[in-house]
Symmetry: C2
Subunit: 743 residues, 2 copies
């Protein structure tokens, strides 16, 4: 008795380790999330069933060439539309923010002398909150998936995990509206991340030749209605988005590849490049017309760092990614807090409005208390120079940093001549903006984290550059703090998002000067190494918090211990080649297992031993078969079956009806269904002894969703799914198992 | 009788189609080539046998981290050494060419007045021929594989086909020597292609921690002694080579990926990037010191296009890739001619010398007959301005184009102010240089095709620009023919090598201006589309002529007809798990089959039916086993076997001894060998019905060398090798089968 008591006490005490708490929290979040969000997995391995093979074999060489041309046309379209959307967002934000700043500026100027500046503050806060409220309302009540930058979701999509509604038309509309509102509302956000999401949605829509939301089917591009093809187009869309956001077509392609692709194909890459190119050209073309300078094509991206002309080869100061890691850690805890406590839409909208008001207040306070007067330049680069308490012919530089869209602020920090900003101003600005940006990312508004990161980094870099010029004697080399601003911006952004090659290229393309490549590269590398020591990148943190089965590049290094036998799910629900309809309906309706792929075995399973594998069939395929009632009366007669076309599957893609909506009568339950024609007759299989890294490589390289594990008689003994692989990761003490969302 | 006669006549007549002739020629070349060149295949799929798994399992998390750090160190070393080599080549060429031009110039100046210019011609021709002879002698007699640019060979290596001796130290030495000689000898060649090859050799050497040629084993990096790891490092080396050649680190990474990688891994890419970065930095650093400007770092690459500062957004003239295709077609026929008739080393050296003399003569004739005098600029950008028959204070511009290293000529064409060159001069130059370059590529000298292509394109582009400026009225827009030169250079190079994304980035990085990206991109795309209509890229043409089993990105589109059953080789030589030594020796010694991988089957093959697959063992592994005499007396006792370590396999890698060198006595032949521990117990298998594209995808994505085809009882029925897949390609009338080298 005593013994047992003591033992259980010990057990209890041992159980409550920090790891356990974390794991419990994970499960809690998962539960909370999963009420609304059920992730789907995508199948990037073609189901090469008889129907598909027949179609392919019927197609001539000319047919394939036409398909190839169609792909190019679609990529062109994707680029064009993405560019248009970027253009629209840019113009809308500029107009709205322009009206807002004008109103506030006039108000401030009116009350500076009178002394009633609190009225200006209130006006500013109210205007900001109103904009943010509109955006937040739309996001919270109409489409919660449109919140944030959307980059984690697109990363997941390209990885093979589809978060529901992520590529729908409605999401796109809300996203565009939301981002216009939140940028115009003065939040510490950028419009670049959402562009990437928008590009992906456009791609997913255009490539399918129809809109399910609008119930409109153009009857074109039917060949592309499957996951493999769609993924390729979504890569192109994301690249086009990056390209439009930063004017960086090569960076866009690299972003798509770094985040999504596992298999590099020259032709595909070239198509993605084409989409990026068209996108940046479209944006450039229409913005030039809007700015009244058609033909000049001087705005390749939403953000333009301006041309850096001189040489920076001496700037080898390596900034740390510590600040970036700090950002991620704070944001991680904040996000956990949000998931736990702020999950009602009303609360979310109120929080967003609160942040907007606080942003306005903080900005105002800093403008008010600083007296950092600078002479007004001849060239009038500032669009809204605030005189405030400065002498005539001067303007308040602190006010300029805050009283502007973040893109313009970044440009000022890069390019304004030395001496424009006073170090104290910059220091306070960095801290305040850092706090605001951390708080803002994760709000229920559409917003990107690129620009705030760049802004914080630029301010901090410029500050560092100024301090260094105090110390260093040779003024000629250390003179331009704008370069430190650029390097600081790169370090901060790198520390937060942890992208590598693609970010280097994006930044180089945005600055328009290749000589900066080398220092940017060094800085990004250091930022990544330092940052990775503390916590993962921001996007990975958010992906982890959504507990989706995301597959990384490699299996954890120490996982050679594990074999397919330990990893696989077993026993597996199998179907016979000719299966009873009733059993299929029962299996599909069973919500506790909820499998998505079923091995098909040869009909020799009368005794209990598992059957020999002869195919793999997907839940979606079975549902289409049930819906079209492809039944035979008895097991033997196969003639009466209705001939189903590949078209029937494509029409149902990607929103297959749930099993509950399909009515199967009692008589029909007794019928049989012949799966031979519809199953994939050559699924990939591995023996039970295969090591985890080997299974992982196969999975990742081929984009699989199910991998059948067989014994040496080719009998099905288990099924490895993405979830089985994604749960292993390297922790502090070696291999750990994660708890993941049921899929 | 009559009937039979007529039929056979018809048959004969029908047989001699052009296709047949071509195929016969292919076989002939193959025969001629294969006397000296026997390609090897690389295995990019790890053989995860028990020894390997045990080692991996013994390794701690810390061990893996150390390995990772080692990989970074090696990449740094590769970059450093590649940069050093590039630096050395550059300085050597500059010195030698400097002496040569100085001598010739003095001679010309001496004889211009006297009228004995034929002496100058002879001096020039003799100097050129002497240099070329040295280089050609070394290549032809010491290491024929060092001929050409080496890019096709590196493409093959990364694809999985190893042309013998391609990554040896000796090849590197000869290559470096050869390229210095041929560039200094004034041939129409560049030193950029060979840099890529050099980088790859450095990588293959450094990563193995030993040199077999020098019989020196440093006992480090032993973990990396296998094909998979070596391939990764060779990618890094090739990237470092590109990076050093063009000062384009991002372009280098993309080149490696475009040409080699099939599986994109973020960490690997980042390491490759690091190597590229170090390489360009090293080159820059040492060249700056050499030029007496340490710390300025103004020479990031071997070729530097100079900074283009103005905007070219209006330059949307799309050049055709026709000229590029023409280059390839002529070179194709020339190469065939060479393979047939000029295969004796003496002849090859003589041809190279002839080309060198002709190059000098042509150049001289053009200089002599042109009277294209231009005023000497103040800045004296030309290093060897030739006055010739021009008035004082003027120089002969034609002479300048020829009387210089090609790199400098390209720069002059890009940057000299409008009016420097007279259109007729340029036209004649283009034609002459085109002919020379076609003739030169494929000679038995180490030489690259990048610079000649750029030079032809630049001349032709500048010519076009000048003509356009005659037509167009608005002089302001069409003024600078240097931009047309750049676009023309891109078009010509794109038309010849058909690289896409990587070439764009390389050119952008070399010009140092991102705004040129868009026109370059358009031009490359057009050049590729137009060029592909006529013939493949130059490197692919050369790869095809070597008839190696090169796998492209995708299976031919119309190949869904074919299944693994039709493609596979059958029957397969299998071994039992415990096999008689005599049988193994016999199978390995059988030169007619010469297989490299053998499925291991379970020991139940007493009757004739094939056994169940239980592993795969490689020829190289069997040879190591035989060499160490890992035999057991009888099938039952397994204890007496000597314990073999993974180290024994690594020590033998990559030059496994031939089977003939291993002596096995008659007694030993009766012993048994237990393969269980050494075979890969989980080889990838596919069922017989798998379609060719599916098999292809598996092969390409995982870098396989052998794929076992099994029936539904898991019995071995065939083996698909790289050769089986590579022989299908799309011809004019659909799918065609190629004849490939036996491997």
């Amino acid at each position: 008795m005593f013994h047992i008591g003591r033992l259980s006490t010990v057990d209890l005490e041992e159980e409550i380790t920090p790891e356990e708490v974390k794991s419990f929290l994970h499960q809690l979040f998962f539960f909370l999330k999963m009420r609304t969000n059920k992730t789907l997995l995508l199948d990037y391995d073609n189901s090469e069933n008889q129907l598909f093979l027949e179609e392919e074999r019927r197609m001539s060489h000319m047919g394939f060439r036409c398909l190839e041309i169609t792909r190019w046309v679609i990529c062109g379209l994707i680029g064009f539309l993405t560019g248009l959307i970027a253009c629209m967002i840019d113009i809308a934000v500029e107009k709205l923010a322009g009206y807002k700043y004008l109103a506030v500026k006039q108000n401030i100027e009116k009350y500076t002398e009178l002394g009633g500046l609190s009225i200006s503050l209130i006006l500013w806060a109210v205007l900001n909150s109103a904009f943010v409220m509109l955006g937040s309302l739309a996001v919270a009540f109409l489409e919660p998936i449109a919140a944030g930058s959307g980059i984690p979701q697109i990363k997941c999509f390209l990885n093979g995990v589809k978060i529901p509604r992520v590529v729908r038309l409605k999401t796109l509309v809300i996203k565009v509206f939301g981002v216009i509102c939140s940028v115009a509302g003065g939040l510490a956000v950028g419009k670049e991340g959402p562009m990437i999401h928008s590009g992906a949605v456009v791609a997913a829509g255009v490539s399918q030749g129809r809109s399910t939301s609008l119930k409109k089917d153009f009857k074109i591009f039917e060949y592309f209605r499957r996951d493999t093809e769609k993924r390729d187009f979504v890569s192109a869309g994301a690249a086009a988005g990056v390209s439009a956001a930063f004017g960086a077509p090569v960076g866009g392609v690299l972003f798509s590849l770094e985040e999504g692709a596992s298999f590099w194909n020259q032709l595909l890459t070239w198509r993605i490049f084409f989409a990026s190119m068209v996108s940046t050209f479209t944006l450039n073309f229409f913005l030039s017309i809007y700015h009244g300078k058609p033909g000049q094509l001087s705005s390749p991206g939403l953000i333009n760092f301006g041309r850096f002309d001189s040489d920076v080869s001496s700037v080898f100061i390596v900034f740390r990614g510590v600040l970036g890691a700090l950002f991620n850690i704070i944001n991680y805890w904040l996000t956990i807090f949000r998931i736990r406590y702020i999950h009602r839409p009303c609360l979310q909208v109120m929080e967003a409005m609160l942040v907007a008001a606080v942003t306005a207040t903080v900005s105002f306070a800093m403008i008010y208390f600083s007296n950092d007067c600078q002479p007004l330049g001849q060239d009038n680069t500032e669009e809204y120079p605030l005189q405030l308490f400065c002498a005539d012919g001067e303007y308040n530089s602190m006010a300029t940093a805050f009283f502007n869209t973040p893109e313009r602020s970044v440009r000022s920090l890069f390019h304004n001549p030395p001496g424009t900003y006073n170090p104290v101003t910059l220091g306070v600005f960095t801290l305040a903006y850092f706090a605001l940006a951390v708080w803002t990312y994760g709000l229920t508004v559409s917003a990107g984290v690129f620009i705030p990161s760049l802004l914080i980094g630029a301010a901090w870099g410029r500050l560092f550059g100024i301090l260094l010029s105090f110390i260093a004697s040779s003024q000629s080399i250390w003179a331009d703090p704008g370069k430190y601003a650029l390097i600081g911006a790169a370090a901060q952004l790198g520390g937060i998002v942890r992208m590598t090659l693609s970010l280097t290229v994006i930044l180089v393309e945005a600055t328009g000067n290749v000589t900066y490549g080398f220092p940017i590269m060094l800085v990004l590398m250091t930022a990544k190494i330092v940052g990775d020591y503390f916590i993962e990148g921001l996007y990975d943190v958010h992906i982890k918090l959504q507990s989706v089965p995301f597959l990384h590049w490699d299996a954890p290094p120490t996982s050679h211990w594990l074999t397919a036998r330990e990893v696989m799910s077993s026993p597996v629900t199998c179907f016979n080649r000719v299966e009873k309809v009733g059993r299929i309906v029962d299996v599909l309706s069973n919500t506790s297992t909820n499998h998505n792929g079923f091995p098909v075995v040869s009909d020799t399973t009368e005794n209990d031993e598992p059957g020999k594998i002869c195919g793999l069939i997907l839940r979606s395929q079975l549902i289409v078969l049930l819906k079209h009632k492809v039944f035979v009366e008895r097991a033997s007669s196969r003639l009466s079956q209705r001939k189903l076309q590949l078209k029937d599957f494509r029409d149902a893609y990607p929103r297959f009806p749930p099993i509950q909506s399909i009515h199967v009568s009692q008589d029909e339950r007794e019928c049989m269904m012949d799966l031979t024609e519809f199953m994939n007759p050559t699924p990939y299989t591995v023996p039970q002894e295969t090591s985890l890294p080997r299974v992982f490589k196969l999975f990742r390289a081929l984009g699989l969703r199910h991998l059948v594990v067989v014994d040496n008689e080719n009998r099905v003994v288990g099924l490895v799914t993405r979830k089985d692989l994604a749960r292993y990761h390297v922790g502090k003490d070696g291999l750990e198992e994660l708890h993941l969302a049921q899929t």
